[in-house]
Assembly symmetry: C2
Homo-oligomer: 456 residues x 2
């Protein structure tokens, strides 16, 4: 009976929230090298917590990049199954900083939500798992199954060193199945199990023209403008029907089966206009917005810049222009091949009079899909439903979790994607937050789930 | 005889250069409101200098924007003609600051060039005129003609308040002709008289989508990306033949006459590839780069930004995207009409799913052309040739000097555009500089020119 576990979580709620706030207060931004020290602090926080809980073995492992926190609990005995819990302690950058209502690294509770960078993605959800392990140890003296913990610091920069590290330490992470909470529910209090994730890849395009900014009056008419050249290149990659016009982009895309379109149709989708404030939704011709986000590949410009951005006017032809592009991929698409296609397209359409460079981002991952009827997933769904009091739905999502692809490729084990975030969490944006309701019911869900592994 | 004047300029060269450096050291950036104090300091420097020279009346006049420095010298008597000298003491912003080899406001002499923001545009050339007036006063006790001085502080932001101020104070600036040194020579030591200037206008385009940055995985496929929308809008405004594709843009353009194409052909043009470092020149289909820059209208993107610009990757769909655009106009084109055409085009091509705003920049000017054979211009050409030892050429230029249009409209007087800059000056760019050779020969040219007004 996990009633004692649940009582422990309730009675210790305030202390646990304070401890989570300590974790959230560490600005562990992985993409910015100036935060290296904070990255290490976040890893040390987890190391200390896992030792307090009573894991048998806790280590901070060097990966060649940001360190990885590893822990092992094996007191459930040889017959008990072993779960590999994965999460990440690094967070996205916070800019534009002035749009935050409270400082991103000073956690603040407003209207039942905890506001902080990483509150939902992924520090908050990582902490919930550790808190539940603590509850089992403090109340029942043991956790119902053996546990391996793998919490990395490079998820937001594409888990650059994780894959090689897993390959070189395959035995260390061997388990019967994996559980990851780095995703969200399709709606508030709507238990949601992810059975599909998109893959991911990206490039950066740089257009160089003159070797210095030029007076637009004296040189306009003789020199190709890198900003206009970039606009032509970018506009040629996607049409107004949101179709990617890069040759070969859709070649390996697994078609969307009729049954699956029914399944997606059945899911009560997010009201994108309400949650984003955009004037209307747009999606790939022939597909609904739900289908496009869940099961069709996308190409997005994440950032673009060149020339004068200050107050007023500066009449120049700038020396260069840059755009950052990422694609979300579906089963069948190969990230490296997509990068090749993007580069070939850019080189093909690049106008004369400028030099165009394509940098292939290292981060990339294949898409992932699992069978929703697997017993381990069904158990999770039942625990989920029990805690939230609503039927669990099964969805695919546009987000990418590179480690899922790594686990799949290395261990061929079931991966349970058990996420407690909500559409209002504003992941990667100013004012990221996580509902305290999900914090409570999510921990309850995990307690029920581990409970099911007793006496097996 | 101006030999004494020339001797004075030679003997006082070092002192005059030091004084110019004081002027250049004032960061009078007009587009940035944080430099308001420096703007005033620059005006005060000129006020003090003009008083020292011995002008009869020197004033700093409030225009509603940055102040205007006015001075009057009338000791040449009623029969002598009056010249209106115009210049500006404001300068362009300095960014990207890290590309400057020496600090923009710490003048530095290297390889016979004076490096500083404003060295050529326009503080250096304004100072030359004042130094020559000083030389006449100190050696001959008088200047050969009556002089009115009008040095403004808003040229780099489109002389926003100057036109209204001139209209309201028409008598104050009334003169027989005007002289302006805010331009350059077509080549080093190549005496050049400008007989045509382009007009100018601009807009800023802002594309708004979601009300906050979105996770590109969770929302890619449902929400229009403002950066891609902006790329489509911009790409639709100019084709790869450098033809502006905005409907009506060329309607009022005065055709380029065969004789004028010959005249332009005769001018030894700038080696754009050598001076800009661009891979090659590009120009409007059917016109040479020289023709396009001198006598055909242009549209340039001066700046563009949106989304993530930092280190690494940030997988977002940004909330907004912005582009700054300016056009250079030729005789016949009306700046306000062009702004209307640009706005109509942007609204027409704007895709759904985003809100597009067009801000019309206040700064604008019509193009200008004058008869090269006017005696006042011929006198200037002869003085120019005498000082530099080479025949003077007559050209049109892509640059815009709004005040020329104002003087023309208000006074209908000949305007002598007597510029001493060179193609290597890097106006509006990092490492702006001005050759000391032009400093010396330019002042010599002015001395000869004023000399011709003696005993008239």
């Amino acid at each position: 009976m996990s009633s004692s576990v649940l009582r422990y979580l309730t009675e210790n709620r305030e202390r646990l929230l304070n401890k989570l706030n300590e974790f959230l207060a560490i600005p562990s931004v992985s993409t910015d090298s100036s935060h290296k020290k904070d990255i290490v602090s976040a890893a040390q926080f987890l190391h200390a917590y896992l030792q307090d809980i009573g894991f048998d073995k806790v280590e901070i492992l060097e990966t060649g990049g940001h360190p990885l926190v590893f822990a092992e609990y094996n007191q459930a005995g040889k017959d008990a199954p072993t779960v590999l819990f994965y999460g990440h302690y690094d967070v996205q950058p916070v800019d534009p900083i002035d749009e935050w209502k409270s400082a991103p690294f000073q956690p603040d509770i407003r209207n039942g939500r905890l506001y902080a960078r990483g509150a939902s993605d992924d520090k908050g959800q990582v902490f919930m798992h550790l808190a539940v392990f603590e509850a089992f140890m403090k109340t029942e003296g043991k956790i119902p199954l053996n546990v391996k913990v793998c919490i990395e610091g490079e998820e937001e920069i594409g888990s650059e060193h994780l894959n090689a590290f897993l390959e070189n330490n395959k035995g260390l992470f061997a388990a019967d199945f994996a559980v990851i909470s780095d995703s969200g529910m399709i709606g508030n209090n709507q238990p949601t199990i992810l059975y599909g994730l998109k893959g991911f890849t990206g490039i950066e395009i740089t257009v160089n023209g003159p070797d210095h900014d030029l007076h637009s009056g004296m040189y306009g008419g003789a020199i190709r403008n890198p900003l206009m050249a970039l606009a032509h290149i970018l506009a040629s990659m996607k049409d107004k029907d949101e179709l990617v016009t890069v040759e070969g982009f859709y070649d390996d895309v697994e078609p969307l089966a009729a049954e699956e379109r029914k399944l997606i149709e059945a899911v009560e989708g997010e009201d994108y206009v309400a949650s984003t404030g955009a004037p209307e939704t747009v999606s790939e011709a022939g597909y609904t917005a739900k289908e496009h986000t869940m099961a069709r590949p996308t190409l997005e410009i994440n950032g673009m810049y060149g020339g004068y951005q200050g107050e007023g006017t500066k009449t120049i032809i700038p020396a260069s222009a840059t755009a950052k592009i990422t694609c979300r991929l579906v089963p069948g698409q190969d990230p490296e091949k997509i990068q090749e296609l993007l580069e070939a397209h850019v080189k093909k359409v690049a106008p004369s009079g400028v030099t165009v460079t394509v940098k292939k981002e290292k981060l990339s991952a294949r898409a992932y899909k699992v069978e929703p009827n697997h017993p381990l997933i069904q158990k999770a769904a039942e625990s989920y439903t029990k805690a939230f009091g609503r039927e669990t739905v099964y969805i695919r999502m546009g987000g990418s979790i590179p480690v899922v692809e790594s686990f799949e490729a290395l261990y061929h084990i079931p991966i349970v994607l058990l996420g407690f975030g909500t559409p209002e969490d504003r992941l990667h944006s100013p004012n990221e937050s996580f509902p305290l309701d999900s914090f409570d019911k999510g921990m309850e869900t995990l307690a029920y789930y581990w409970e099911t592994f007793k006496n097996e």
